[in-house]
Amino acid sequence: MTDIASLPALRISTGGPEPGVELVQLLTPEGERVFHPDYAVDFTDEQYRALYRDLVLVRRIDIEATALQRQGELGIWASLLGQEAAQVGSGRAMREKDFAFPTYREHGVAWCKGVDPMKLIGLFRGVSNGGWDPQDKRFNLYSIVIGSQTLHATGYAMGILKDGAVGTPDGEAVVAYFGDGASSQGDVNEAFVWASVYNAPVVFFCQNNQWGISTPTDHQSRIPLYQRAEGFGFPGVRVDGNDVLASYAVTRSALDAARTGQGPTLIEAFTYRMGAHTTSDDPTRYRLASDLEAWKLKDPLERLKSFLYKQQMVDGEFFDQLDSDADALAARIRRETLAMPDPSATSMFDDVYDEMTPALREQQASLARYLVGFAEAVQ
């Protein structure tokens, strides 16, 4: 186990382009552990390995899904490539009771919360609009309308307050995920108002991946995004989003503050969208290859890998096992995707309401009749 006390102190900004902006980092791009006075993590070797395993597996899910999309099995896929550490770090910092409100890109968070990747695949394949029970793993449905989920997260956190499930170390809390682009939406700023006024136990986790499709972050804010929180009277912090340890530590600390009654925190995870916005996007139209190359040097997997190597926490067997687990996972995803049935046409009426209306019942029946008649006609 690493002796944290012996780590070199490093509080200068290493990733943020702005002078004077602090970036919380616990692991340098080269895989060196560094000390931070406010954010300590003290993992066992086993835990370090588990985090690495998460990173590798979520990347593998992503790669497989991208391949499936290319082969026409999915309508679209939103890749998390490059954002694995931010997602696994924050995802693992949550307790089972804590509730996550994702966007459409939080496949790594879903993984940490125990959501079967096939649920996500189903959405991108077009067989459902989500369809999982958010309560099941305390992982809300994916949200596509930018920023809308931050209000849902805040309302949920207000419910936690009403339930009295806050104020002790056992309290509950919420993480609201959103992107740098989303920070401009009215809803996100209203969520900041609500969360601060009610002192709700919500952690706003903004993955600043530098882009909102083709739009760079400086089109959304002229100052670092974590500073937005100050304007609403709660703390903001920027963390190296490619550093899984720091992402974990900062999120855990914010969650603990929230669950013990200290209200919201905004975390800006400074990271990079290594791939396209989605499989429909062509980033070569708007960004420089050199930019991507520079960020590749900060790859979230590589740095934890070098750390594990340097600390001699891993051996060839570990990697072999992980490779074969990843292969198996990918193979399962492929197999289950290809086997995934389309829903029946008439199912689209089923859940529009809890209590189905007569009009829908009629439309459903008439579609069923039509389809039967049509099938007979073409025979």
Binding site: L151, G155, Y156, G159, D187, Y353, P358
Partner: protein, 327 residues
């Protein structure tokens, strides 16, 4: 039996559901100490505390968005939108979120959120305080949309709406808030008409007037006036604007063979159009006249000095009745 204004009936309904279900929370602008600008939440803050009656920050998207989160946590929020014209900032949260979450979750998430909206004109107000936006919601699958027209109905319907596990947009005819009538506050809700059921509020044989919310009273007055001319108008209160209680509507119009739809909202792509389309199709061989519409004009709601000319009134209704009978 008690004689109550509609505002008081609504207030009593809220009190009743709050007493019976601790998960019911009331939220909105100025609903607390002030009791709402129309006093519909009067006294609730004092008796249930600020945890259950929340004066929210001033932002409608925030109100509906956080209500959705509260519903996910097991609460049953009743949101007040202060005036009809202020619901639009929440439009995305209502039509893209609230309306769709049940379907998106394959029915695993219930959204028992009620959105109360004082609506319609006739109170001499400034811009944005007299609108009738019901079509914007009725056209949205996943929402249920109702409008009450009398204190007795207001009392029952609001309780039913709050207890409904689907999101309900609940329109209250603000210019009728102060009209009094008998309300059976001890009535068994289980025996009441379902929320989705239209009701013949005055039987007749010559023409069916179809209305909801504030126009029900106008139609009743028109029917009384028409009686003097020997015309027996049936008045049908839709109550539910989505879903539409088509069987009740058809039953009435099948008898009268003539229908006039009356609403304050503009005519173009409004509820009246849907009723005309539906009746035109279902009763194609039975109607003696086309369905006529008496509505607000296709203009923004005018300055209040012109609202009497804008709003359908007894005379315009009777004018349409004459036209209908003329076919």
């Amino acid at each position: 039996m008690a004689v109550l204004t509609m505002a008081k009936a609504l207030n009593t309904a809220l009190r009743t559901v709050m007493e019976s279900d601790p998960k019911v929370v009331v939220m909105g602008e100025d609903v607390g100490k002030l009791g709402g600008v129309f006093r519909v939440t009067d006294g609730l803050w004092k008796d249930f505390g600020e945890d259950r009656v929340m004066d929210t920050p001033l932002a409608e998207s925030g109100i509906i968005g956080t209500a959705i989160g509260l519903a996910l946590r097991g609460y049953r929020p009743v949101c007040e939108i202060q005036f009809d014209g202020f619901v639009y900032p929440a439009y995305d949260q209502i039509v893209s979120q609230l309306a769709k979450i049940h379907a998106r979750s394959k029915g695993t998430v219930k959204m028992p959120v009620t959105i109360r909206i004082p609506f319609g004109g006739g109170i001499g107000a400034v811009e944005h305080h007299s609108e009738s936006p019901e079509a914007y919601f009725a056209h949205t699958a996943g929402l249920k949309v109702v409008a009450c027209s009398s204190p007795a109905d207001a009392y029952v319907m609001l309780q039913q709406a709050v207890r409904c596990d689907d999101p309900v947009v609940f329109f209250e005819p603000k210019r009728r808030y102060w009209e009094k009538a008998e309300v059976d506050v001890a009535a068994d809700l289980g025996l009441a008409d379902p929320l989705w059921q239209a009701r013949v509020v005055r039987p007749g044989v010559d023409v069916t007037l179809i209305a909801y919310g504030p126009m029900v009273r106008t139609c009743l007055d028109a029917a009384t006036a028409a009686q003097e001319d020997g015309h027996h108008l049936e008045v049908l209160d839709l109550r539910s604007l989505s879903p539409l209680d088509l069987p009740t509507v058809l039953e009435s119009v099948r008898r009268t063979r003539r229908a006039v739809v009356v609403h304050e909202a503009p005519s173009y792509v409004g509820l009246g159009a849907e009723l005309a389309a539906r009746l035109g199709e279902e009763l194609y061989y039975e109607m003696e006249a086309p369905v006529l519409r008496v509505t607000g004009f296709d203009t923004p709601y005018p300055p209040s000095r012109l609202e009497e000319d804008y709003l359908p009134d007894l005379d315009r209704v009777l004018h349409a009745v004459d036209r209908s009978l003329g076919y």
